[in-house]
């Protein structure tokens, strides 16, 4: 889709305008772009660079520095495994390994049918519920090997 006909660029333009085309709002703008598009594609980054009158390299550099920004699209559903200390101590790395094995992808990847992405995070601040995974933005507390696969199957079914 070309930029001129894609409505999402209008949405993005509006949020850039709201922030006054301010160069220092770059991170805010990347956040709202990711919210609108689900990820930050090269075209989107170039668009932001031109609207803020920043070099593309700067925008690309910032987008790749922060873990929160994704440069590739996500699957239809996603599961995020917390690898923070409290969750790690309670075996979240084994839960991740199990999920990776079961769906044949590594953390950060998406299944070939684009149904599921597996992601990792460094703590959601829900550490007293450790170990946690997040299925499509819903926190699942005190997860086990079995309940993690159950929750994921439930989500993608």
């Amino acid at each position: 889709m070309s930029i001129s006909t894609d409505d999402r660029y209008n949405t993005l333009e509006k949020s850039i305008k709201k922030l006054g085309y301010d160069k220092s709002s770059l991170i805010e703008i990347l956040h709202s772009a990711q919210e609108t598009f689900g990820y930050l594609g090269i075209d989107t980054l170039k668009f932001i660079a031109s609207r803020l009158k920043l070099p593309y390299s700067k925008v690309y550099g910032v987008a790749t520095f922060y873990n929160y920004f994704r440069l590739k699209p996500k699957g239809k559903h996603n599961v995020v495994v917390c690898l923070g200390t409290a969750c790690y101590i309670k075996g979240s790395n084994k839960i991740l390994e199990n999920i990776e094995r079961r769906y044949g992808i590594k953390a950060g990847e998406t299944t070939s049918d684009e149904a599921l992405s597996v992601l990792t995070a460094r703590c959601f601040g829900s550490c007293s519920l450790a170990p946690v995974i997040v299925c499509d933005d819903v926190i699942k507390p005190k997860i086990t090997l079995e309940s993690s696969t159950r929750e994921i199957e439930e989500m993608i079914k």
């Binding site: 160069k23 220092s24 709002s25 770059l26 991170i27 805010e28 990347l30 956040h31 700067k58 550099g61 910032v62 520095f65 922060y66 873990n67 929160y68 920004f69 690898l83 923070g84 200390t85 409290a86 969750c87 790690y88 101590i89 309670k90 995070a121 460094r122 703590c123 959601f124 601040g125 829900s126 550490c127 007293s128 519920l129 450790a130």
Partner: protein
């Protein structure tokens, strides 16, 4: 609009009466052993007030301290009170807050900034999240008082993107306070202006570091820079800046309300007040606890936390996150304050306490933190960028039981080099988990050395 203490008190009374008529269900039961050993200053309102309603905060005495400061105290007197309280930064470093404010207040500049550090990067710590979500106005009040004391009229709260609810609560709080004229121009006819904006992090641990955080607010990559110049001279956009942690700022309103001497009387000689800890890991009662400084680790883990799970043996407690260390059982009677933890080879850090039982291998734990630092290293300086990765690989050799005696020497040597030559706090403290586990659990490293 609220423009005087009298009006604030009036609103407070009105809301209290209203609350009495329609008592809300209170979510927390505070009579259990988990609570009786606690002393709540920072978390006093947690669960008791409605964070979405500024009037409820005011009904509980909120914004009285700000109005008291504006009405009755000079900026110098506010700083004096904070100095008397001997409050130290809760973000990890433990630098005296009063002194930090004083140095910024003395710099002459048209524009100064107050930044609240809500990045909470230490995985396993969530006290700042609790404060921002359950009592957002307390953070705003602390920032406004800091602004008045230091001569700053603009504040930023840097919140990590993983905390969307905290962002929502803070945004609402800012709107409500601005609407009532508690933030904004000419607050309480004092001539003092103060506005607050939120900036989002984007998942980089290093952005908790002062200079990296500033680079991030300015919209760039979160690269730390050499200090000096210090933030008090050259902070956000080159202007004098105070950076304080969420919990530090949450202590300010109570200090102004009750006096610095009151605060100083709580805790220990060198560490006054309370500290919020996040108890997690292999422990029965997980959650946030707020206790006076000087409470022993044993009280925290066994009396409040209920000890480790049935059939398991306590092994160590990890404090200070990726910059901290592990403390073994024989030191459990250590009072927790900045100095004692340091002497035991760990740090206070942000207050994450992770209990580790005998099912865990300490080398693996050290590797976990080193891997974290290698991942989060911003890559600006070589000792940290290369050193943390090499240390992770060396630790792998111990875990696979393929290390040699020489590797052990190399490990210790490399820890020293990374510590002493890295540019910022991330690299300078990254070897701490390794060093502290070598200090107390050397046998687990020796077990990873193959016989030759």
């Amino acid at each position: 609009m609220i423009t005087s203490i009298a009006e604030l008190q009036e609103l407070s009374c009105k809301k209290r009466e209203e609350n009495e008529k329609n008592p809300r269900e209170i979510g927390v039961e505070r009579s259990s052993a988990f609570y009786t050993k606690q002393r709540r200053i920072v978390l006093q309102n947690e669960g008791l007030i409605d964070p979405d309603d500024i009037e409820d905060y005011i009904a509980h005495g909120g914004y009285m301290s700000l109005f008291k400061a504006l009405d009755e105290m000079t900026p110098k007197e506010v700083i004096e009170e904070v100095k008397i309280s001997a409050l130290r930064g809760r973000g990890g470093g433990g630098y005296p807050t009063g002194l930090k404010w004083e140095s910024v207040s003395k710099v002459i500049s048209e524009q100064k900034y107050i930044i609240c550090n809500g990045d909470e990067g230490d995985p396993g710590a969530f006290m700042d999240r609790a404060v921002m979500e359950s009592d957002p106005h307390k953070v705003l009040e602390g920032m406004a008082i800091a602004g008045y004391a230091c001569g700053a009229n603009k504040g930023y709260i840097y919140v990590r993107a993983e905390y969307p609810i905290a962002v929502e609560k803070l945004n609402r709080a800012i709107k409500q306070a601005t609407k009532l004229g508690i933030l904004g121009e000419n607050i309480a006819h004092s001539g003092f202006n103060f506005n607050v904006e939120i900036r989002l992090g984007a998942g980089a641990f290093v952005c908790g570091e002062a200079t990296a955080l500033i680079a991030s607010i300015e919209g760039g990559r979160g690269h730390p820079r050499q200090k000096p110049p210090h933030l008090s001279d050259c902070g956000l956009w080159g202007k004098p800046t105070v950076l304080n942690n969420v919990e530090t700022l949450a202590n300010i309103a109570p200090i102004i309300k009750n006096g610095g001497a009151w605060f100083k009387s709580i805790g220990t000689e060198n560490s006054s007040g309370t500290k919020v800890f996040a108890l997690t890991g292999h422990i029965k009662n997980t959650g946030l606890v707020e206790v006076p400084m000087g409470t022993t680790l044993r009280e925290l883990i066994f009396d409040i936390g209920g000890g480790v799970e049935e059939g398991r043996k306590f092994k160590a407690i990890q404090s200070g996150g990726p910059s901290g260390g592990c403390i073994p059982e024989h030191l459990l009677d250590l009072p927790v304050d900045y100095e004692s933890l340091k002497s035991a080879g760990s740090i206070m850090g942000s207050g994450g306490l992770i209990v580790i039982d005998d099912s865990s291998n300490m080398v693996e734990i050290a590797r976990y933190f080193m891997d974290f630092c290698a991942d989060e290293s911003c890559g600006k300086c070589t000792p940290c960028r290369v050193g943390t990765t090499q240390l992770t690989q060396l630790l792998d050799k111990f875990i696979e039981k393929k290390a040699t005696k020489k590797d052990f020497e190399l490990l210790k040597e490399m820890c020293k080099v990374v510590k002493s030559t890295s540019l910022c706090g991330l690299g300078q403290t990254a070897p701490n988990p390794v060093l502290s586990t070598i200090r107390y659990f050397e046998d687990e490293y020796l077990a990873g050395i193959k016989d030759d």
